[in-house]
């Protein structure tokens, strides 16, 4: 398998409604997948939505090389995602994929995955990938409320799952950074992979720095192209402004200028 970018019509195998704001699209590719790495994303073309001009980026949520299907986990935010939520079995969706770099393979087994909101999307794929490399990560997932907690069975296949909900209706109450694992004096993890809202990632990065724990975050800067030519998605790094869609979306926090 060769790493290569495709522009391809995939067929909707099923659209799974998780809750009012989240759904999963399972998509079948017309030919064998290229190698897809955890943390990579796709650019989806939203048809028939007058207010959606550009493509929309979504992380690869999981890949099944056997069935030649991949999944996207999508949160309904605006018109574009609303239109995607109406796709039905048999419809087609044009994707450019796989895009961006990926999470790195850790050189420790004490791994924590932290995700909040739609930021959980790439973590399932990462958890699976870690398993294939004999690592069983701890997985901390933050949700708004019990109703939005989903796919715990999926994650549980690959590691121990912990949950926070903002209203305390399931798991620990609060945001992911309020979870008790972060309250201990020593952090049990040597590597953190994190994806979610900027504020959350910055808070996790702060904790990681404090504990001198290696940490990678996956950024969700708004994008125009997604494959490196428009320079719209940049983030400041120790090498100047770098493209989140090519040099990222995954960055080691040491490379970012976050404080």
């Amino acid at each position: 398998m060769e790493v290569k970018k495709l522009v391809q019509d995939l067929q909707v195998v099923q659209s799974i409604c998780l809750n009012k704001r989240h759904f999963i699209l399972e998509l079948l590719a017309p030919e064998k997948f290229p190698l897809i790495l955890p943390g990579q994303f796709s650019q989806a073309l939203v048809k028939d939505s007058p207010s959606t001009f550009l493509r929309r980026p979504f992380s690869i949520h999981s890949v099944d090389y056997g069935k030649n299907t991949l999944r996207l986990l999508i949160q309904i935010k605006g018109e574009g995602t609303l239109h995607l939520s109406r796709l039905k079995e048999g419809d087609s969706l044009n994707l450019i994929y796989p895009l961006g770099n990926s999470f790195s393979l850790p050189n420790t087994k004490d791994v924590l995955l932290v995700g909040g909101g739609c930021g959980v999307a790439p973590l399932l794929f990462m958890a699976q990938f870690l398993n294939q490399n004999n690592i069983h990560p701890a997985i901390l997932l933050g949700f708004r409320t019990k109703e939005e907690v989903s796919e715990i069975d999926e994650y549980s296949k690959f590691g121990k799952v912990m949950i926070t909900t903002e209203d305390g209706t399931e798991g620990e109450k609060g945001r992911v950074i309020d979870h008790s694992i972060f309250a201990r004096q020593r952090l049990d993890f040597r590597k953190i992979y994190c994806c979610g809202p900027d504020a959350m990632m910055k808070a996790v990065a702060k904790i990681a720095r404090m504990h001198k724990t290696d940490c990678e975050v996956s950024l969700e800067n708004t994008m125009a192209c997604g494959f490196g030519v428009c320079l719209c998605c940049v983030t400041p790094t120790n090498k100047g402004n770098e493209r989140v869609c090519v040099e990222g979306p995954v960055f080691n926090i040491n490379r970012l200028t976050w404080t």
């Binding site: 290569k4 073309l45 001009f53 030519v229 428009c230 719209c232």
Partner: protein
């Protein structure tokens, strides 16, 4: 067999479809999607005298049938271009045109002079129309005297085909066109982006870090077409037209209005292979309309 080739100021393009500066990188990213050698030409992204970091993120806002950008000429400077980029692209089987930008006449002249030495670069496109830099850029493109001055200064050091890209943010595009022709431009590129702004009403903040940015995409096509038409009527200099071209029909409209060739910009983001589809679409149109040479379309709009 249709003849798609166009001769622009002595330079022969295999077809009239090229890609717009700032929307096609240096072409490398697109090699994964298509055979860039089938393009008429590639306008690579802006090159300035020194390394520029560009503006802060966010640099992009989506708008109705378009987008705003405020990238602000991020690039590693002309030295880097000559040493690191040029060797990798000089042998692509298509014309590579360098978009030359700057903040002062001296910077434009310096960059143009350096590019003049690169054997496989047959032309430069002087970008006097970037709305996203504090100094220079668009200022040169909105005052006729300055436009003539910077063009003439570059003309002195640049010996190959000199294209000048104009800003649409002006009262009279024909005055600006005449100004750069007076300065020695061989070709006029129309149009760069329109200065616009986007606001997030919920957060009561501008979306772009720079507050304003450049509008591109289909939204601006009617304005771009009008400017191509006006300039075509006013000067005899060949025109390269762009602004919102998404498909072959759009491209043909620009040629009918007077463009000898066209550039595909924002459309590349949505369909990376769109430019080659436009080549094919123009060919199909010519067959349907029994047009032998694509040059027969240039300015062929029937207004009687």
């Amino acid at each position: 067999m249709s003849d798609l080739s166009v001769n622009i100021a002595g330079l022969l393009f295999k077809n009239p479809v090229t890609t717009a500066s700032g929307t096609f990188g240096y072409g490398d990213e697109f090699r994964e999607f298509m055979d860039v050698g089938r393009l008429g030409g590639i306008f690579v992204k802006a090159v300035t005298g020194k390394n520029r970091d560009g503006n802060a993120y966010p640099r992009m806002a989506e708008t109705a049938s378009g987008m705003l950008n405020s990238v602000g000429l991020q690039n590693k400077g002309v030295d880097h271009f000559c040493r690191e980029i040029y060797p990798g692209i000089k042998n692509l089987n298509t014309h590579i045109v360098v978009n030359v930008s700057g903040s002062t006449v001296e910077e434009y002249v310096e960059v143009a002079g350096r590019i003049n030495e690169l054997e496989k670069i047959p032309a430069i496109e002087l970008n006097i129309s970037c709305p996203n830099v504090k100094f220079g850029g668009m200022a040169f493109g909105t005052v006729t005297g300055m436009a003539t001055e910077v063009t003439a200064a570059v003309r002195k050091v640049y010996k190959k085909v000199l294209m000048v890209k104009l800003s649409p943010n002006v009262t009279s595009i024909t005055d600006l066109a005449k100004a750069v022709v007076d300065g020695g431009a061989d070709v006029i590129t129309l149009i760069n982006t329109l200065l616009g702004m986007a606001i997030d009403a919920e957060r009561q903040r501008p979306i772009l870090s720079t507050i304003t940015g450049g509008l591109s995409g289909p939204a601006i096509k009617p304005i771009a077409l009008r400017m191509v038409w006006q300039v075509h009527k006013a000067v005899h200099t060949p025109i390269i037209g762009l602004g919102g071209i998404m498909n072959a029909t759009d491209a043909i409209e620009f040629m009918l209005a007077g463009a000898s060739a066209i550039q595909v910009g924002t459309a590349n983001f949505i369909d990376p292979a769109v430019s080659l589809k436009i080549v094919d679409g123009i060919e199909a149109y010519m067959e349907n309309h029994k047009i032998k040479a694509v040059t027969d379309l240039v300015g062929a709009l029937r207004t009687e």
